[in-house]
Amino acid sequence: MSKDIDSLYALFGGALNDTLSEAQQLELAARLKADPAARALWFAYNDVDCALGELPADAPQPATISSAPIAHASSPQKEPTPRRWLWAGAAAAAAVVLGGLEQARHSGQPERVARFTSLQDALWASPSAAFRRGEMLRKGQVLELLSGEVQIQFTSGALVTLYAPCIFEATSENGGFLTYGQLKARAASTESRGFVIQTPTARMVDIGTEFIASASADGQSRVEVTSGEVKVYLPGQTESRSVLQGESFSIETGAQRVLTRIEAGDGSPAFRLPSIEPPSTKISDEVPSGTFTARLFQGADTVAPQQDSNPPSGSTQQTGNHPLKNGVKIINHKEGRIVMDLGALIAVTKINAYSWHRGQLFDNESNRPAQNFVLYASDTDTPPVAAGNLEAQGWQMIGSVDSDKFFGVENPKLRSEQQACSFTSATGCLGRYRYLLWLPAGTSSGDSLADLKSASSSFEVYAEPWSF
């Protein structure tokens, strides 16, 4: 028993020291899952660790570390430590994270790298923060903006506007780290060429002149180029991807480094898009009927596919209002979800989704082109349950889209009638999967009917030819 506890303590120590092997991590997790007493001990151990972090700086400091016993059962040699050190330390810790976000992270005086040029209704997380126009920003300084809008100009000349809520760190005179939120960067001067915005999942280099970057809480990054060109580097890759004016894409978290594009079509039957290919007209001819199976459930009114038993494709719809020729239709959006059986474990390289609806007759028809869903995949032999905790059931999230949020739709009637999104991977392959799951979500514009959609959807899955 004592040995068990000793080994548990060793695992605790390794976890806090960040020195556990993968096998040890699994062992620690298993023991914590299995034993409430182990969890209680873990909490107490953590409290000890936290309290040690609040020791006063003026603690006795002998010259070297000895190998003598660490603790003594009998009386200590030192005067009692004043109780206040614990609380003083706690207050200091709070100040660092809450009150000190506007302060430089490093001691001393790091170099000045930017200056506040405009502050509109700025409210900071720290009650003591009171930045003024003209005030300098030092390297390493972290800004946590709760509300309002702030513009800063870097020494290089690059201009960055932060939109609350936002966490941003000025990392150099020509770049910063966006932990969370959205910003607009403009690098028009020669000196600011190469201005860098780093997010948790991407590095964006502005080579002229303006782009919008965002980083969401779940780690997704997005770049939208409003002028010029931005090069995007993904972790571990030396090759960049060029994003030109009018283009944008998202970078999902995870090992596959999923890239998501959302685009609007030109409204023609050809369904032309800036970079995503139009819906294929060949799929139903090339793939034998039966390879593809779509299953809808949990929605009494859901119907799909509508075009015989063939996969939905671009050949099935030639106009914006032609519901009987549509590929997939989901009416009961709140419960409807689609599971697609690819027929075998397939190396999937790309997944596109298209929607087309003009919405000329009724207000709610203009909701239909919106694409708002989360896409999951599974490599299991049998389809995992598509309800509850999906990841626990065996589904892996590929990515998500919300076209209304992406296009900034406020009036549903002004949505683009043709929309498409495309999931690809920076590594070339999204993964080997047998099943795909489309899970509808509510749109950012609050439209109650909008969903994965619609009366004109088509899903296309690309695979490596040798993977069947």
Binding site: A15, K33, Y45, D47, A51, Q61, P62, L86, S147
Partner: protein, 187 residues
């Protein structure tokens, strides 16, 4: 534990000046407990601080949902637990110490466990006095001055693993000492 916050919740109505002050006051007051809460779910203190930063933004955006006079720490812990899951999803699996299932169990139990922290501090204050000077030096270097253990080991002419082991032993002895003081009848 249920995590009621949607991942990308839209900000609610603007808060009044009083509510803004209330938020800052509550968040300042709860910071230590929230950090301890998050650390126990992810183990890595730097990660926990990053997570708490993000969680504080979410709390701000959702503060209109918080009812004054109710338990702010419990509410904030729920938000922080959600942020832990988000954070872990952004990491590779190899970097995640605890999976979502375990995080939920730990989070649910840790909220109640935090109420013992004051008593633990009282006990720990006595236990810390029993550390010898050598151990206090190590604790001071690593915890108070924030030195990297490898760098400190180099300066001391010792192997890093030796100091890791010593730190583990210090924490273990302090934990046991604290437990004995809190449950004298059982010892």
């Amino acid at each position: 534990m249920d995590t009621p916050c949607p991942p990308d919740a839209s900000p609610g109505a603007p808060l009044s000046a009083e509510r803004q002050e209330e938020f800052v006051r509550l968040l300042n007051g709860a910071h230590g407990r929230l950090l301890r809460f998050v650390v126990s779910l992810v183990a890595r203190r730097h990660d926990a601080e990053d997570i708490l930063q993000k969680a504080s933004v979410t709390m701000w955006r959702r503060f209109a949902d918080f009812k004054s006079g109710t338990d702010f720490v419990a509410w904030a812990c729920t938000v922080a637990a959600y942020e832990v899951k988000n954070f872990q999803r952004s990491l590779g699996r190899s970097r995640v110490l605890f999976d979502d299932e375990l995080v939920e169990v730990l989070a649910a139990e840790r909220i109640a466990d935090l109420k013992q922290y004051d008593a633990r501090l009282d006990a720990l204050e006595e236990c810390v006095k029993k550390l010898d000077d050598s151990s206090r030096l190590l604790v001071d270097a690593i915890y108070t001055r924030g030195e990297e253990i490898k760098e400190f080991a180099r300066k001391e002419g010792r192997a890093p693993q030796t100091l890791y082991n010593r730190l583990n032993l210090i924490r273990k002895l302090l934990t046991e000492c604290m437990h004995k003081k809190l449950a004298p009848a059982a010892s």
